[in-house]
């Protein structure tokens, strides 16, 4: 879809003619999208429209699903991530992901954040600094600095989600994918996460799937609207919300369906 191609001078993520099937069922149809560096791109659309499936193509999480077949091209920093010599483990180091349900490991707060760097061979004496910095960036340091050794599962839902963001940041990715990160949280925690993502965009490229249209309008620079596996419209958030080109985009945004 040409609508997906933006006039972005140096897109960091380039998706071209992406098709995806779960067995016989086609979940993504010919999706093309250019996502610029250091921006927030929101993906909206009704349940089952393919937005989560799409975001999981960007760090190849769909590889984990049996009989999932992908065609097309996804380029990140001019590397085809579906190329034959790509190491998926390395890809996921540079493309982090935060999930819908806060899912810290059953370990201490410290160990959760240190988990990634530790396995990737961080120096033991650097670890404290990495953990502290990640917790600072995820805006949760002040709440947990005095109890880093207590279990992560003792935190509230919103805190757990920010801890998961810190865990992702500690691996030092370039891109962070958010898959409906606030749908399990209360409004105040949601706002904190939104503020956080807006702060993070100066260092990271952010792609966020959301059910919440106000959220997309509040935080994103670009918005893509998915329907039945197709990217119906993609553009600057202002334009999508104030002056959508497609009738179905307008219908969805104004709440006529979805």
């Amino acid at each position: 879809m040409t609508e997906g191609i933006q006039n972005v001078s140096k897109p960091q993520i380039k998706v071209e003619n992406l098709n995806l099937w779960y067995g016989e069922k086609q979940a993504l149809k010919n999706v093309s999208m250019h996502i610029p560096r250091n921006s927030i791109t929101a993906l909206i659309g009704p349940s089952g429209c393919g937005k989560s499936t799409f975001i999981r193509c960007l760090n190849r999480m769909n590889d984990l699903i049996n009989n999932c077949r992908i065609e097309g091209k996804v380029t990140i920093e001019s590397n085809n991530i579906y190329g034959p010599d790509v190491d998926v483990v390395d890809l996921r180091k540079s493309v982090g992901m935060v999930f819908q349900k806060p899912n810290p490991f059953p370990m201490s707060i410290y160990d959760n954040v240190a988990y990634g760097p530790r396995i990737h061979g961080a120096n033991r004496k650097d670890l404290d600094g990495i953990v502290e910095q990640a917790l600072h960036s995820a805006a949760i340091w002040d709440e947990v600095s005095d109890r880093l050794k207590s279990p992560a599962l003792s935190l509230s839902g919103g805190q757990q989600q920010r801890l998961c963001i810190a865990r992702t940041l500690a691996v030092k990715p370039k891109i962070i994918l958010f898959d409906e990160p606030t749908s399990a949280l209360d409004p105040i925690s949601t706002l904190r996460i939104e503020d956080l993502t807006m702060n993070l965009k100066k260092d990271y490229t952010i792609v966020i799937v959301t059910h919440n249209m106000q959220q997309a309008a509040r935080i994103s620079d670009y918005t893509g609207f998915f329907l039945m596996g197709e990217l119906i419209e993609f553009g600057q958030t202002k334009q999508i919300f104030q002056n959508p080109r497609e009738k179905s985009t307008e219908d969805y945004i104004t709440g006529r369906f979805g």
Partner: protein, 307 residues
């Protein structure tokens, strides 16, 4: 019209019959009856366990003293202790667990985490299920043919331990698979999304979360190793051997077989009655003790995992 009326009448009859039987219980009554049956079942089970335990303790506790636990059998096993049988059973537990636990856990990890849902996997699962249902005497014969004869280990601790490890392998595999299944998919996903490889994810996140379940399964199999007679009968247990095994190629005594010998083939069955019950009691205590250890291990890991 006539037909219609007929239908109506039969309908009416049906309701009347139902009403006549009046067999529909109200919720409260059915709740009470169900509760009574369920509670009764529990009482029967607990009752039998307690009776068996009490019977063995009552008849056996007189036999137990330091000498009984630390001395060799004397005078055709009518006097003295059961020390070699205790040691033999402990060796069997250690030997078979050393083999079966790592292999079983690795098989379960492979089947659950790596193998896809293919026909081959299905066949392997079927084979494991069948292995679990095979009578233990068949394992004994198999152990005799393979370990004792073909590999030439002779009737020995080694042959018996290997035979027993085959017997408990399916139990450990099943338990580990169940435990792995209870580890939330989210743990795996979020670890992989951090650029952590599959094996590292299994080692650092999945296995620690599965340990309580694995321990439970292992304990069940320890109980079997301690109690089985048929598999060791063919592969190495001795009728009477007043010394400890000095290598893995030695024969050995074991508690369940010693009990069997005393009770059925001893030189003076009536005279050894209290030794028999004492032996049973020791066997029970060993199994219960190991159960307790496992519960403690499980609780330790649960505490570490949960809040």
């Amino acid at each position: 019209m006539e037909l219609n009326a007929d239908v109506k009448e039969s309908d009416h009859k049906a309701t009347r019959v139902q009403g006549g039987l009046n067999f529909r219980l109200n919720a409260k009554t059915s709740e009470k009856i169900a509760f009574a049956f369920l509670g009764l079942s529990v009482l029967i089970v607990v009752g039998f366990v307690l009776v068996i335990l009490a019977y063995i303790v009552y008849n056996g506790y007189n036999a137990i003293n330091i000498g009984f636990l630390t001395e060799m059998p004397r005078l055709m096993m009518t006097q003295g202790g059961i020390y070699p049988a205790i040691v033999g059973t402990l060796y069997l537990i250690i030997g078979s667990m050393t083999v079966a636990l790592p292999v079983g856990v690795m098989v379960a990890i492979y089947l659950n985490e790596y193998a896809g849902e293919t026909r081959t996997t299905w066949l392997i699962e079927m084979a494991i299920n069948n292995l679990a249902g095979t009578p233990s005497v068949v394992f004994g014969l198999f152990g005799l043919a393979l370990f004792v004869k073909y590999f030439g280990f002779g009737p020995s601790l080694l042959s018996s331990s290997l035979t027993l490890s085959l017997l408990i392998l399916p139990v450990i595999i099943r338990a580990t698979e169940e435990a792995l299944l209870t580890v939330p998919k989210e743990y795996r996903e979020s670890s992989l999304a951090l650029g952590v490889s599959k094996w590292q994810t299994i080692r650092h996140v999945v296995l620690p979360a599965a340990i309580p379940g694995i321990v439970t399964g292992s304990v069940l199999s320890i109980g079997r190793v301690a109690g089985e007679t048929a598999p060791i009968l063919f592969t190495g247990v001795a009728y009477f051997l007043p010394r400890l095994p000095d290598s893995v190629y030695s024969q050995f005594m074991a508690l369940p077989y010693h009990l069997f010998v005393l009770a059925t083939a001893g030189t003076n069955i009536a005279k050894t009655r209290s030794i028999q019950y004492g032996t049973a009691l020791v066997l029970l205590i060993i199994v219960l003790g190991l159960n307790l250890v496992a519960v403690l291990i499980r609780r330790h890991y649960r505490k570490k995992l949960k809040v």
